[in-house]
């Protein structure tokens, strides 16, 4: 497996620290009204693990690895596809009085 240089590691830590700070600030700014769709959105985002799943599967290594990887892809894509769709469904329900009542979706 590729050796990471110390500086790669520290750079990743920089990115991690910044992104965590940013996450804390951004989430704190989310209106309470939207906490349910927010949960659903971050749930969908956590399917980013699909990137790792694709790599492990696609490299065509041992059979076990490919199988585990494919299973991981399936899990993550259920998450990704379903997550964003549900968030959209939830958000479509939010509207103001003046926006009319035409409803798409379910």
């Amino acid at each position: 497996m590729h050796e990471l240089s110390q500086s790669d590691i520290v750079e990743n830590l920089f990115v991690f620290v910044l992104a965590s700070f940013l996450g804390l600030e951004l989430i704190r700014g989310v209106s309470r009204l939207l906490h349910t769709p927010l949960m659903s959105l971050t749930n969908a985002i956590s399917s980013i693990a699909i990137v790792g799943s694709l790599l492990i599967t696609g490299r065509g290594m041992s059979h076990t690895t490919t199988l585990l990887g494919a299973l991981a892809i399936t899990c993550s894509s259920i998450n990704a596809i379903g997550g964003f769709m549900i968030t959209e469904r939830i958000l479509r329900m939010f509207k103001r009085k003046d926006e009319g009542t035409a409803r798409g979706g379910h």
Partner: protein, 463 residues
């Protein structure tokens, strides 16, 4: 520009879009744009990974097949899921996410061990630990919420020792693996202990505390994705994972604060014990039970009515009926507001989503700080299947488990109408003095049924 570089830039745009997606989710006006930005970011993440050249991926057959299966399962699940099932569905999703992270970690290990540099191995172990415990923990949370298993806390003597013990085994084997990546047996110990700890973590937690736990598990799922990013030296994974991790953390803190409880209290099932203690105390007192007709009479001359929905509205699916009542009352010139307590219902924003589903305009929904000053002016506060969030003990009884939790001051309204099925307690298992106040009228019955009857009565009067 070579494939490698193109990939980097695609990932960069993806990361920026993930950030924007959460930012835009902050306001209703921009929230749908936020969801689209998130989806686009995910598409870019996948496209960037599959870009021919860099990673030299080959097994496209497997990939396409696996994604298709995912889509076939995911899409119908998203389409047919009822809105009340959002907590379950989120739990199940976390289970999938955790499993994916765990499996990728295991596969990486099996493929490359023992040639894994120490830092990478440490990240890999963290990824598996977090991934697998999220998997079983979320699965159990799902089962409890879906009532496949009992929602009661499963409590037995020595449970804290068992779960701590399992966690320690998992951590020790993770450390051992990091130092000696060659010993495959440590992998299996780590996996077993992580899977076990996930179960032990969630077992003692009651069904109603699940939302907090789900938020914590969301945080773990994010952190395991970030750990995967450290393993693969992939910034996009790190960023998305860190955003998720902080989101889960903040949401669980908000919930704990609004319930006036500590993390530890939620995790170690403190509420379960309270139920037994508080449930049987107190002498029998009398309440005033009223009929639907009484309720209509009281509402006829009201000029300002504040509805306080709670978990019971969700159970009864009474959101459409209450919206109808609001419409009827407003047609009579009465102002109607909805008071939304931060932990009303069983998940953050629960009431908002249900009322939005029933087409209630979101500017009619007022948060605690804004609605409390209005109660003294309200002719009637309708408590619709809410209980703990209107319990005055939170203000007055120092020894109550609710003491200190901010509540909706319905008792300050001229009259209060409480609609529930019985004198049963709510989630906290605590008696509610509100029901015995002079200006409180109890209307017993299912929330939806009572609402529908009141509306029917009004329509008769109006006609």
């Amino acid at each position: 520009m070579s494939a490698l570089n193109a990939q980097h830039y695609v990932y960069l745009v993806g990361a920026a879009l993930f950030v924007l997606s959460i930012k835009w989710m902050g306001q209703v006006r921009t929230s749908r744009k936020g969801n689209w930005a998130g989806s686009l970011a995910m598409v870019l993440a996948v496209a960037g990974t599959l870009l021919p050249g860099h990673y030299g991926l080959s097994a496209y057959g497997w990939i396409v097949g696996a994604v298709l299966i995912g889509a076939v399962i995911g899409i119908p699940m998203a389409l047919i899921m009822p809105m009340t099932a959002v907590p379950q569905r989120t739990a199940l999703s976390h289970a999938f996410g955790g499993l994916a992270a765990g499996l990728v970690g295991t596969a990486e290990y099996l493929e490359f061990a023992p040639n894994i540099p120490r830092f990478v191995m440490g990240a890999l172990a963290a990824e598996m630990l977090l991934g697998y415990l999220t998997f079983t923990g979320s699965l159990l949370a799902f089962a409890k919420l879906q009532e496949i298993v009992s929602t009661k806390p499963i409590i037995y003597p020595g449970r804290n020792a068992v779960s701590m013990g399992t966690l320690i085994v998992a951590i020790v084997s993770a450390i051992y693996m990091t130092i000696n990546p060659g010993h495959e047996v440590a992998l299996y110990v780590l996996m077993a202990a992580s899977l076990g700890f996930g179960l032990f973590l969630v077992m003692p937690i009651g069904g109603a505390d699940m939302p907090t736990v789900i938020a914590i598990l969301n945080s773990y799922a994010g952190l395991s994705a970030a750990a995967m990013g450290f393993v693969l030296n992939n910034k996009l994974l790190i960023i998305a994972g860190a955003l998720d991790g902080s989101s889960g953390l903040i949401l669980s803190i908000i919930m704990c604060k609004a319930m006036n409880r500590s993390f530890a209290n939620v995790l170690f099932g403190g509420m379960g014990q309270t139920i037994a203690k508080a449930g049987d105390a107190g002498p029998a007192r009398e309440v005033k039970a009223y009929t639907v007709e009484d309720a209509v009479t009281m509402l006829e001359d009201a000029r300002l009515v504040i509805v306080v929905p709670g978990y019971g509205m969700a159970v009864a699916q009474a959101q459409h009926a209450v919206k109808e009542l609001a419409t009827v009352l407003m047609a009579r010139g009465c102002d109607v507001k909805f008071a939304i307590h931060p932990v009303a219902g069983r998940m953050p924003g629960h009431m908002n989503v249900l009322l939005a589903e029933a087409d209630v305009s979101y500017d009619q929904l007022l948060e605690l700080e804004h609605v409390n000053p209005l109660f003294p002016e309200a002719d009637m506060a309708i408590v619709l299947g809410a209980n703990d969030v209107v319990n005055p003990a939170a203000r007055t009884k120092v020894d109550s488990p609710l003491y200190g939790m901010p509540i909706l001051d319905v008792d300050k309204a001229r009259s209060v109408m409480v609609i529930k099925r019985s004198m049963n307690t709510g989630f906290a298992g605590i008696d509610n003095d509100l029901f015995y106040l002079d200006n409180t009228m109890m209307v017993f019955g299912d929330a939806k049924k009572v609402m529908t009857e009141i509306v029917a009565d009004f329509k008769r009067i109006n006609a």
